[in-house]
Symmetry: C2
Amino acid sequence: MQTKILLPEEQMPKRWYNILADMPPMDPALHPKTGKPVTPEDLSPIFPMELIRQEVAADRFIDIPEEVREILALWRPSPLFRARRLEKHLKTPAKIFYKWEGVSPAGSHKPNTAVPQAYYNMKAGIERLATETGAGQWGSALAFATQLFGLECTVYMVRSSYAQKPYRKSMMQVWGAECLPSPTDRTNSGRQVLQGDPETPGSLGIAISEAVEDAATHSNTNYSLGSVLNHVCLHQTVIGLEAREQLAMVEEYPDVVIGCVGGGSNFAGISFPFAGDKIKGTKPGTDIVGVEPSACPSLTKGLFAYDYGDVAGLTPLLKMFTLGHDFVPPAIHAGGLRYHGDSPIVSRLVHDGVMRAVSYYQNEVFEAAQTFARTEGLIVAPESAHAVKAAIDMALECRKTGEAKTILFNNSGHGDFDMSSYDAFYQGKLVDYEYPAELIRQSLARLPKVG
Amino acid sequence: MQTKILLPEEQMPKRWYNILADMPPMDPALHPKTGKPVTPEDLSPIFPMELIRQEVAADRFIDIPEEVREILALWRPSPLFRARRLEKHLKTPAKIFYKWEGVSPAGSHKPNTAVPQAYYNMKAGIERLATETGAGQWGSALAFATQLFGLECTVYMVRSSYAQKPYRKSMMQVWGAECLPSPTDRTNSGRQVLQGDPETPGSLGIAISEAVEDAATHSNTNYSLGSVLNHVCLHQTVIGLEAREQLAMVEEYPDVVIGCVGGGSNFAGISFPFAGDKIKGTKPGTDIVGVEPSACPSLTKGLFAYDYGDVAGLTPLLKMFTLGHDFVPPAIHAGGLRYHGDSPIVSRLVHDGVMRAVSYYQNEVFEAAQTFARTEGLIVAPESAHAVKAAIDMALECRKTGEAKTILFNNSGHGDFDMSSYDAFYQGKLVDYEYPAELIRQSLARLPKVG
């Protein structure tokens, strides 16, 4: 009765899988001012050339540099678990497997891309990376990665989170990064906001503007993003590549693949190798499911359209599912899923029917997390709990139909820094926001006109 | 260049190693009132018979029940790491290996004994376990274990910690345990303390008294202890048994074995298999080192004598290294190491010269933790950081002498719930308490007279 399926370190993937090679051509990213396709030169002030190349690469596989693999080996290959105790509790004929990304030093899947991003910037002679972070998962991952390559790191952390979640900031300090409550007086964008409202709680949109400005105005500094972009999704494919290998070791292939979706990087990571098999027709029947919060339902209620990545409209226009760049989702406890848009690749695959999406309210998600903790032992992050909830529902469906499906989900991170959210759940303080239809209608009406 | 050495699940130990079989007879535990050796009947109101048997067993190996192994498999065998990046940073010829126990659901080695303790109590028909906890590591581990066996769990948590470290309490709630700030009004011992001082911050000694009273006065309830006792050390030997096997896979055997020491259970876990080899003469030269805080230096500055396990003098008298049962150590940030005594077995092995001990101040310990985080990536618990510090010092010594020693240490848990302690370190708020010689002299003068 095996519980864990471990890959030896030698079998850690040597190449990332680039699903762009197996897809029809993507709609190009457009310059926010000219509306014309973005060129490498447009991006070079803030990204190193290798990441710009990966963003549009046509190669099916891209080599993972040896120095990156040496650091990934601190926690990869991550374990794949068979959730036997959960299956028994649910009385389901389904087999539930989950990939556990909480074993990374920062506690989530985020370092999978933070490490190569830090590496390519270091190779390009960059000395410092600037980034933004909401709840702090991404900021701490980048702090970890930059430290190991000897880069400095500046993290603009949304001021309200900076005050409410002080311990992610502490982690960044241990790893030698500078973490600032955003807006700051270091950037024009920050100063402008502070002039208007010195007591502003800040927002992810403002923090992005500050980090981009910092990078654009310092020649030794680049910008780094933790989700959405193609190269970020590419780096996360180690998750799915390992999982496919681990399942093969026990002669399984998933009927269902599940991941939660904020910007889409962990869902991309677990699902792209299986989506590739589906596109190529070797495994046409796989059900690939992204899970999002009902309060921020971009894939299930958004439009597939060109939109900005940030509130201020400074980033390139991306063709993606969006709720509108100025849609502000209600404050739910899975902060990592509060994004108005989605990865363009994930969006396109959903649009083309290769993947689909479902949404859940937060109380039912925390209920699922409790069931998981009390059977499998692990206390997961509220974001990951969305995937747990979908896997449980799918397994219960199998109990009705009698189907012995093989379900795989990505358990993207631990909940050690989210215990106040669990407290709020137990205190009955979590609000199940009704689908904010009117708000979404209004912000969609403000989508930029393109072409 | 291998970083992690993984054992397949099938090679998880099937038996615990009982070092008592390889030692001269131990001094018996004595009844606190009569001063005569404690009998199984004395202990049966609060412990199940199988654990009482294990406390004095003469068998060299004791089978791990299959139902216990199935739960341990949720995280065991734990990985063994070669700390190559740390070695490089230290420019040492030494090889540094560490066993990583932070992968357990509760984040430390504690579940290794919580699981079998819950199991044997369940088999004995017990419906609830009562225990005490300081910072909450042990309480959360027992909450996890009892939940998986369908037992209830009541945790008396020292009131000051309950207020300062609320998130360990939250974990216990997720796992279905009841966590109460001690002293409570549920027990006579609690009520007495509250009458004297309604605002008391509580203490571990008081919490122990409450948990023991709860167990002794409810027939469906037993008591559970997370360290010190022989059966607890026994259960932790999976750590060292796995590590010895993992090192053998890369044709290594340690010259030095290191663990931090509070009550002694994680040090026992990593070291007993190697101590057994040393006693039997197959590996006579192994240097086995326990690491304690200078503020609570029981092994390095205490007496090897009979003493109580608790402040009130209600527990059996144990022959151990002690600073005196009413010695109150200064408030340091490695709360798990603030215990006046030590495991009787560890004490005896130190007394007999099989092991030795060193002590460190807390600022140098946090410095070592920072070095570890910035090279190996992991942010460790302040307790575990004591072992890190000793390993680093040993490796630097090798740099001087040129010896390529093989150093093994136990990395007993993660620091996710200790970030406020790291903050205190960075803010310069940690006090390096001078060895409290006068306090220790006074409390040692109050040792019970025996025989």
